[in-house]
Every structure is written in C-alpha cells, then in structure tokens.
Symmetry: C2
Subunit: 289 residues, 2 copies
C-alpha cells in the first residue's frame, strides 16, 4: 500500500498511535500544538512544527521573502489557535548547492520580518544540502495561560461556530501574505470562554469535521464568508486560509458579535455543532491524495 492509497488523516492516526509519552505531556498529537507542563502550572508550553516545500507550498519563482514569512507565520497561526503567544523558533533549511545566496538572504529577510512582527526570537536552526526542492521546516515554542488554553476537543452540541475573515482563493496570493490571527485569538481568550478553536489550514471542509470529531459532535453549516470572486466550493476546499474557526456557547454568541473590536476583519457565524455525529464527507486538501 502506498501513502496515496491511505490518505493524510488515516496516515496521521497510524503514525501517532502508541508514541512514547512522558508525565509532562498534557496534550499530544492531534491538536494545533502539543501542550507540555504540569497540570497545576499557571502557564503551559506549546510546541509546534510545520514545513513549506518548493513545488508544494510555493513555486520556484516566488519571492523567497514571502516564503520565509509564510514558513514562520503558519506556525504562529497554530500557536494563536491554542490561545497562546509564540516565543522561540528553530529554522531548518535544505537547499541545492546551486541556489543563489540572494534567495537564502531573502528567505531569512521574510523569516525575520515575521518574527519581529509577532515577538518571536529565532534561536537556532540547521542548514543542509537538498538533492531536490528547497525545504523549510520551522519549529516554534509558545506559552499559554492555563485558563486561556483552547483545544479542538471542547466543543458541545449547540455551540455556535464562527470564522474570522473570508475563505477561499488563497492561491491568488493570500497563502503567502496572510496575517496569523494572533491579536484576535488573544482578545477572544481574554474576553470569552471558547469551547474549541483551530486555525483553517486545509480548508473548512477538511478542518471543521476534524474539530467536530475531536469534540464528539456533528455540525451543520450555513452561509460562508466567501472571498470576492470565489465559489462556496473554493471557500470549503482551497485551504491555506489561516483564519480562526471557533465554537462558543450559544448564549455568548450575540455578545461576542457586538463586542468584536476588529472593524476590518469580518466575524461570521457559519454554523453550529450538533449531537448528530454521523460521518460527513471531507472536501479539503489532502497532501497525499
């Protein structure tokens, strides 16, 4: 059997079964970040890794400064989706020996710009030769106050589902220049008790079923905040929106909508979590499909 026969979600289930754990692991594989610390600690540590690959996440002609931004911003988005703040980044870059040095300089320019914007220290890394595409892997640590840590798994039937921003059409440029919703997530966890949250990396059509499954719920979807010129299918399946998807108790929903202080960023009710958990089709991006 090949990876393409198995699919991404089944592969992840297979690989994360029976992994070695230790006493300080509070939340393991399956959420946006791992959470480590002691249960009684006031502040927990978040750990995340993610990668971007030439020919998959960007094309060779892309400005490498934008690639650098994207490589780090993807991880910042995951830290934000847990309610946390990012801290320390490690960068691994594999490149062919004939790559112009100017491209690597540009890559680091984008990494540094993203790091400064979101208060991240770049503390180390590794360079290696690639016999093929350019490969950039980023590992990022973060912190989150215990009371503000939001998992995917806390959603309840009846919860209202919100997304920030507009969905779809990321390939037109947003996938390289998106702003991780760090400020917005910190505001949300300061003022509301969110039941569940995640960032939308593979498209709402793939990511919402993951949140619902983790929460032991089903879901119903209503109207979506679609990017101008995009179809509903694009909003569900394009992926790389890097917007927040979160669930709150219905009695909090109206207060949240009226308190939302980010005038330029839409906040949209997209549906509800339900008690009906019959499996729903997945429409998002599968890496191995």
């Amino acid at each position: 059997m090949k990876l393409s026969d198995l699919g991404e979600d089944a592969l992840v289930v297979r690989l994360t079964r029976g992994l070695p754990r230790n006493a300080s692991l509070l939340v393991g594989p399956g959420d946006d970040c791992a959470v480590v610390g002691r249960r009684s600690d006031a502040v927990w540590t978040l750990l995340k890794t993610d990668c971007v690959i030439e020919g998959v996440h960007f094309i060779s002609e892309t400005d490498f400064a934008r690639v650098g931004w994207k490589a780090l911003a993807r991880n910042v988005s995951d830290i934000a989706a847990m309610g946390g703040t990012p801290q320390h980044a490690l960068i691994t870059v594999a490149m062919p020996p004939d790559l112009p040095v100017a491209k690597v300089d540009a890559l680091y320019k984008g990494l540094r710009r993203c790091a400064r914007k979101f208060g991240v220290a770049i503390v180390g890394g590794e360079t290696a030769r690639s016999p093929g595409p350019v490969f950039i892997s980023v590992a990022l640590t973060g912190q989150v106050e215990r009371a503000r840590c939001v998992l995917r798994s806390g959603g309840k039937p009846g919860d209202v589902l919100f997304v920030t921003g507009r969905l779809g059409g990321s390939l037109a440029g947003k996938h390289l220049d998106f702003t991780p919703r760090l400020i917005e997530a910190r505001w949300l966890t300061e003022h509301f008790r969110l039941h569940a949250m995640m960032d939308l990396s593979d498209g709402l059509g793939a990511d919402l079923p993951r949140m619902a499954r983790a929460s032991g719920c089903g879901f119903e979807l209503g109207e979506l905040p679609v990017t101008q010129g995009c179809s509903r299918e694009a909003a569900l399946g394009d992926g790389e929106d890097f917007e927040l998807l979160f669930a709150v108790a219905p009695r909090q929903a109206a207060r949240l909508e009226s308190a939302w202080p980010f005038r330029k960023l839409p906040l949209t009710r997209v549906g509800v979590l339900t008690a009906n958990t019959k499996p729903l089709p997945v429409h998002g991006f599968d890496h191995f499909a």
Copy 2:
C-alpha cells in the same frame, strides 16, 4: 553567488547575523543547542533542530527503522553535548505519495525505539508531500541544570582535549546505528567542571576548529583514536562520529582518566587548546562544497 561558492560556515554566519532575539534567549545560534530561560533559573531549556534527507544522510535502500533512529539520535547527541537531558520531540516528514506505507511505519518504529531508549516523548509533528526525496526534520527540547550546562565557548589555553569512542569510518554503518553519548555526558557534568563540549557531527577536522574559535583559542592535535581500518584523514574528515569532544583544565585530566567508568568506550586525550589562534585549515564535511 551560489551556496557552493560561499560554503556552510560562512552561510551560517551570514544567516544568523541580526536575528530577532528576546529577553529569555541565553545562548543563540552557534552552539549545539539554543538555551532559553532566565539567568537565575535553576534549570534551563534547550532547543535543537536537525534533519536527515534521502540521498544526503541516507540512501533509498536503507532500512527506514535505522533512518528513524538516526533522525532523532542526532538531536539527542546535541542535547547531550550541552550536558542536558532530552524531553519532547516534534517530527516533520515529507514523503512522495507513492512511498510504501511500510517504509513510514519502519521510520516511526526507529523513532519510537530511540525515543524510549533516551526518555523522549514524541509530542507532535507534521506530514507533507515531497516532490523529491524523503525529508525528516526533528525538533527536540531538553533541560539542563544551570551548573551543568556546557557551551563550546568556555575553553581556555592549556585545556586538555578529550574525545570519546573512535573516529572515522561512519559510513560503514555507525552513522545509522550510533549511540548518543547521553549517559557519558551526564556523568561528566555530574563529576567534572568541563570548560567546553560539543558533539562531533562534521568530523574532528571541522568541529574542533569551531570549538577553538568559539573559545578564542587555537589548538594542537596529537594521536587520534582511529576506527580500525581507517586512516587519520578519515578520522578527521569522515564526519558523523557523534562522539563527544570536550575540554577540561589540565589538573583535572588525570583524575578524569582514572575515574572514567565506561569500560567499553575509549576516552582519549587528542590534544590541547592553545593561546595561538592563527587560522587552521578545516578538513571536515561541508554540506555545500
């Protein structure tokens, strides 16, 4: 200009200049690991990332269980070289869609085996499609008691240089099956005040000049513990020995040799640090040469 014209050490200097820092960064790029925490903390956090790539660090025909072991063990070796103990690992794997699932299973078998052996929890990761070679990146956290943290930069003229094990010939198999010197490094930092330590990943000929430069010293080399059947050149330049190189005050050297409790692992004086810092030729492995 291309990467191959610049070379690995000059590239790293170029990329690590002016990186964003923060108040909790105690030791940034340039050592085996980054060190974060407050200066007054009793225990500091270590952060490390490293990668292995098909066609560079292993060939396609290699048993992927050995590749998995190697991918994590390289990082454990770096945590050991700071005097610390490893804690939490994040795994990033990029693979072509036609890769047999059995190979990924084997890879994770090796990762799990190494993790259990050295007390590491695998807390998360990322899978992605590769349009080329298999690429595995591991990020590892660790802890070290402040008093036992050993940098590359603390060597002094007159210090005696030791290496563990035998050097050279790693391609005959050791590069896949090596044992990170974690127990040995913990014993060393418990009983001796080491001035400087690092692990030998690119060969003594490349790594010793790095330690000497970081310490503001020169060095003189004597006889080397050469792997049976290898030349002195191989011991200096093959790389991937993953043995410890460390520097201690001369008055501690004899006591250390007689106290060394690891009967099966040679401990060899290979030279001294000197006050003469004139540049010395580098004979180790350069990724972009």
